[in-house]
């Protein structure tokens, strides 16, 4: 077997050594096989240490104190904004807004840009594969404004039916909101092409990049997107911090979202003037330490190289398809591996997803089971629930193979009658 072993774009064993949690053993001394990275990733000690360092040496509130410690904290916080800018190739730092996560970023756009721009009869184009966080804010907005929601359907193999887009776009379409990578199907959507069609129709495009930014190079200028949102905790960073990128003209024209400290230039008893970007959208004390931790995470990811991570995850996904297809009764969701990121969802015939996940857990394998915050997609697929294995660069081919072995064992337990 070793003579046929593929040359890998990165060395997972070396990288795993940076992740203390990946060495834990559970239940009856089984090693942890963490395949729930689409829910949240683990953190390397470099990121954990960065949090400890801030708290021990450099922590104060940002943008406020005249004192030395506040300057330290502010510098670190703003350095992170620059790291994020470079990471997604945004034109300017002011276009990088710290949020509490992808969900807040999308809600910010819905409540600020949406309320200012969406009128009765306007249309918002979504897709059938969206996470609830890219459905519900638009449902709330549409309900309030009397707007119409439309959805790009998916094909049976879980790709967007893009040939349907021209008929779904019209002069009333104000916004197209779409995920870059589906959190269930793993499908990588052709964002540049979607943006081209949407812009030709005069619509603004928001991309839910929660499942793409951590796993592949992202260039917001090359993609030509108007808004792009993602979360820190899905890319080695702490939870409680996320990023919203926005096109400058749009962000400048938008009213503030949350009101409070930081987001103002001047306040009188009965009125206020909003601050300039990005402060305008960062009311209150921001997630200071999580943001700095995200900066450390970006350093770590850059050192590996996002193109290497993407290439490696495609190798894991291809192997997963190969070994899972060999387990009788497994039905893989979504397209062929070459159209996917590191997400492989499936059902096992005759055994509910929760039972599968529970039995996998017994063998140390952490997967997600359920509808993965995508109930409409599961309805479209005709499934109540599915099992999702999702990878990151620290997963190994051996772990992928163990998943298949453990599924065979799961079947054996249910089939012994």
């Amino acid at each position: 077997m070793s003579t046929l072993a593929p040359v890998l774009p990165l060395d997972p064993q070396t990288l795993r050594a940076d992740f203390p949690i990946l060495a834990i053993r559970l239940h009856d001394d089984v090693p942890l096989v963490y395949l729930d990275n689409a829910a949240t990733t683990q953190r390397p000690r470099q990121v954990i240490q960065s949090l400890v360092d801030v708290y021990e040496k450099q922590y104060a509130n940002v943008h406020r104190g005249i004192h030395w410690l506040s300057d330290q904290s502010t510098d670190l916080f703003e350095e992170t904004r620059e790291k994020v800018r470079a990471f997604i190739n945004a034109p300017a730092r002011e276009q990088v807004i710290f949020t509490y996560g992808t969900t807040e970023g999308i809600n910010l756009v819905a409540r600020s840009w949406g309320v200012a721009n969406i009128k009765a009869g306007d249309e918002i184009l979504l897709t059938e594969m969206e996470h609830h966080s890219n459905l519900v804010p638009w449902q709330q907005l549409a309900q309030e404004r009397g707007a119409v929601l439309r959805h790009i359907p998916i094909t049976d193999d879980g790709q967007l039916a893009l040939e349907r887009m021209p008929e779904l776009l019209n002069e009333r379409t104000k916004l197209v909101a779409v995920c870059h990578v589906s959190n269930v199907l793993g499908t990588i959507n052709p964002i540049a092409e979607i943006v081209r069609q949407a812009h030709a129709a005069g619509a603004v495009v928001l991309v839910d990049a929660a499942q793409s930014v951590p796993h592949m190079p992202t260039d917001v200028q090359a993609l030509d997107v108007d808004f792009l949102a993602f979360s820190g905790h899905k890319m080695l960073g702490p939870s409680g911090v996320g990023i919203l990128y926005g096109r400058r003209e749009l962000l400048e024209a938008m009213p503030p979202f949350l009101g409070g400290g930081s987001m103002i230039r001047r306040v009188k008893l009965d009125s206020f003037e909003p601050a300039e970007l990005p402060a305008k959208f960062e009311a209150g004390t921001p997630p200071i330490v999580p943001a700095i931790g995200l900066g450390a995470a970006i350093d770590y990811l850059n050192a590996i190289g996002l193109e290497n991570i993407h290439a490696y995850e495609q190798i894991l996904t291809a192997r997963a398809h190969q070994v899972l297809e060999a387990v009788g009764g497994v039905r893989l969701l979504g397209p062929a591996p070459e159209h996917k990121g590191g997400i492989v969802s499936f059902t096992l015939e005759g055994i509910h997803a929760h039972d599968v996940a529970q039995l996998l857990d017994r063998q140390g394998i952490a997967v997600r089971a359920g509808h993965h915050c995508a109930m409409p997609l599961h309805k479209r697929l005709g499934k109540n629930a599915s099992v999702r294995a999702s990878f990151y660069f620290y997963n190994t081919l051996a772990e992928v193979e163990l998943l298949a072995t453990a599924l065979a064992e799961t079947k054996r337990i249910f089939r012994k009658k």
Binding site: L8, D29, H354, D355, A398, E399
Partner: protein
């Protein structure tokens, strides 16, 4: 694609045997113990009560588990017939089977006295809080069913019979 980083050769034969499959534990803590799988694979009274007087259906939207329970209650409050139907995980369907077996020929008052803790005890295996919801679904449905008379009270339903549906077969 491999140009940007030093290439690593995956050598599984030489790697330490980190990943070994454990034998499943077989004590009373084991969730998928024999009697639970028995109820799942060969359920008690899966189908519909031919002379249902009461019925209720509910689901756990988060996991999609569904349980429906039909009862035929006589004027003295005795449960003459009790059947369940549904779809979902092993825990939810096995629990429903156990519950229906437990209350066959018992009384509505017995149902009222039967609390959530009794249900978890009847089920037997230890459950995490998340899986307790699966187990308690049928208990919740039964508690509601005794207050939910059906319109054609006690008349045989058209086509009422043992459901051929098997648990967990999703297509």
């Amino acid at each position: 694609m491999a140009a940007a980083a030093p290439a690593a050769r995956a050598d599984f034969a030489a790697a330490p045997r980190l990943f070994r499959l454990q034998t499943m534990p077989r004590d009373e803590d084991e969730l998928y113990q024999e009697h639970i799988l028995e109820h799942y694979e060969d359920p008690y009274h899966r189908g519909h009560a031919p002379h249902a007087t009461h019925a209720h259906e509910d689901d756990n939207p988060l996991c999609g588990d569904v349980v429906e329970i039909d009862l035929a209650v006589d004027p003295q409050g005795k449960i003459d017939e009790i059947y369940f139907d549904g779809d979902g995980c092993c825990i939810s369907q096995a629990a429903a089977s156990m519950l229906v077996e437990h209350f066959d020929q018992k009384s509505v008052d017995d149902v009222k006295r039967f609390n959530a803790e009794d249900m978890l005890r009847l089920f037997g295996a230890k459950l995490t809080p998340n899986r307790q919801k699966c187990c308690l679904l049928s208990w919740r449905v039964l508690q509601a069913a005794i207050y939910s008379p059906v319109p054609n009270n006690g008349q045989p339903k058209l086509g009422a019979q043992q459901s051929p549906a098997r648990p967990g077969k999703d297509d």
